[in-house]
């Protein structure tokens, strides 16, 4: 029987993607494109995939049996902003089933390369963000905003939960509209449409002023090198960094309420949230 070409529509989660793999093999259907919840128009037949835990588990188990590192590649690549991400991931899964794990040794393998490249790009962003995330103290709670290209929150989670284990903090991802909350040894990631920040207090403004002054003073003007600075600290990161923002940047953004703390964490499961995939470190 010949495989027919279809378009898959699924819920955008990693488990959902695994279910797509499952359905594809069950129905002998080859996905040429994937859509999320948005309406999809296509000349091809559309299969809507309902996420079912046991199907996802079955696929995951079979993948883990073949190679744990391959599953890590899949999980990481799923968080990247690569175009047609699912198509590349699907090709990767098929090759893994068909040929085994050897091609993972070759970064230039035509099926592995797009994933490897996207992960390299994401790792670069991650490394930068570990340093570039800027917290502000909002009445004892630390808060930060980021605008990453990739969905990095699940990967920043362990670093910041470790660093600020004694604090309560949140990081809001403006691009993907999700938030990481941490308090008292527990962390959670869930979608948030909009975040309204309270105005900073006097002490916060004082520290911002000190940091801005340090930042300007530490540069040696005889060595001025804007292009070098731009390549290490691209402009797209600067919109959330204290040293490039006015002292009270929250003002005028019609922001009022701080996120509830730590009440949000005690909700047993986030309402209709997409739980971010756990990343084994």
């Amino acid at each position: 029987m010949v495989w027919s070409e279809v378009v898959f529509q699924y819920d955008g989660t990693f488990d959902g993607f695994l279910c797509c793999v499952y359905e594809s093999y069950v129905h002998k259907e080859f996905p040429i494109a994937f859509f999320g919840d948005e309406e999809c128009f296509s000349l091809y037949a559309v299969r809507t995939v309902i996420t079912q835990r046991d199907h996802a588990k079955r696929i995951l188990r079979s993948l883990v049996q073949r190679s744990v590192p391959a599953v890590q590649v899949l999980r990481r690549a799923f968080l990247t902003c690569m175009e047609d991400k699912e198509v590349h991931l699907y090709a990767f899964v098929r090759k893994l089933y068909a040929e085994g794990v050897a091609f993972l040794k070759n970064q230039s393998d035509p099926v592995y390369y797009p994933l490897a490249l996207a992960i390299r790009h994401m790792n670069g962003e991650l490394e930068k963000l570990r340093g570039f995330v800027r917290f502000s103290d909002y009445n004892g709670v630390l808060g930060a905003e980021i605008e990453p290209k990739n969905r990095v929150l699940p990967l920043l989670r362990s670093h910041f939960c470790n660093r600020y284990a004694n604090e309560a903090f949140f990081i809001f991802d403006r691009t993907h509209r999700e938030i990481l909350l941490y308090a008292k040894g527990q962390s959670r990631i869930f979608p948030v449409d909009q975040l309204q920040l309270t105005l900073p207090g006097e002490e916060e403004i004082h520290y911002r002023a000190l940091w801005k002054r340090f930042y300007e003073t530490i540069s040696i003007k005889e060595r001025n090198n804007p292009s070098g600075q731009r390549s290490f600290l691209p402009k797209r990161y600067r919109g959330t960094m204290t040293e490039f923002l006015p002292l009270d940047h929250e003002r005028g953004n019609n922001r009022v309420t701080p996120p509830e703390f730590p009440g949000v964490l005690s909700v047993p499961s986030a309402p209709d949230g997409i739980p971010a995939p756990e990343i084994p470190q």
């Binding site: 995330v133 600020y164 540069s219 600075q229 040293e243």
Partner: protein, 422 residues
Amino acid sequence: MDLLDKLTILADAAKYDAACTSSGVRRGFQPGKIGNTSSSIAGCCHSFSADGRCITLLKVLMTNSCVYDCKYCVNRRSNETRRAAFTPRELADLTIGFYRRNYIEGIFLSSGVLRNPDYTTEQMIRCLHILRHEYAFNGYIHAKAIPGTSPELIHQLGLLADRLSVNIELPSEAGLQTLAPDKTKSAILRPMGLIRDQAAQSKAELVKYKHAPSFAPAGQSTQLIVGATGDSDKHILYLTQSLYRRYRLKRVFYSAYVPVVESSLLPALNSKPPLLREHRLYQADWLLRFYGFQAEELLSDEQPDFNPRLDPKCNWAVNHLELFPVEIMQADYEMLLRVPGIGPLGARRIVSARRISHLTYEDLKKMGIVLKRAQFFITCNGKIPAGLRFSAATLIGQLERIEQGLLPDAVPEQLSLFDNAG
């Protein structure tokens, strides 16, 4: 004087120190303590200043008052400048405030010499003690060991810090005599030897007792000023190599001399800092530490200074054409590392991939090999890249043209009608 003023003066006075890394130690979260150190091997950069340099630590002086009168230094006694000093607690609070906001990985504490080296070091220890023990700060601390400090105080400092450094600054005894008459080579090298020995002892004890105190676990580093004296690149690089070998240094930093003071003994005030020279030294330093090169291979009496038009690796390769081309499918890892355009990561990827696949030039590009440079020195399955034309005579010119676009502050060269393309 308020804190903002102090910070301005004491950061300004510290900015010529090039060392700003938070690498060399991985310490996770510990219950009851604040923070951790970076999980990455390379440390963590928190920002980049307008000069393109990484900011990872709160780099300040305890005080910029100094009893010494080193000619090259902004903090010398005879310089008329505003003086300030942090109190230990002030600085500890500032560090915590910055660390909580993820501005920094920790603190890099240095100081001018107030009264005498021991008194100065005691002030630094007091600040770091508040940080480590009162505030339970678990982040990164880099402290400067001041030459002339007594061994007991250096020992205490090392127990509080992750990294210690002693700056040599002037690469030769002659330079010291003219520019820093209060310092001698042996006074600088003594604490370095001390730090090396105590770190080794602490490591040995940690093997035996789990809770033995660790002394400067991220090792020690130093800084050499480039261009304040007449020392050649060869002298500086050979010195670097012997520091790595004899004193087990983790890093040697180079700082292009920025003329800050009018002196007949120093470069004129309007002369530009020798940034290209500094860049070449860093490139060569990398070759020593990660590529298996020896200083003697890079510079010699015949060529005591780096070629400004070619990076040290290319320069070495064009002088050893008898070793090339290298066959990608067969050359061992060490030889791959010697090919211009191939780094440790690329070499590892090649070694791993060639076991299962015949590699093409397209594949190499995907692995992050800089083919622009590597193409002249390799064959892939016995073939050179299609369309590549060069001879031993044209090679240097071709490489120089590539290098031109890569330099940090490349000055476009005027094109000549007779410049042969290709």
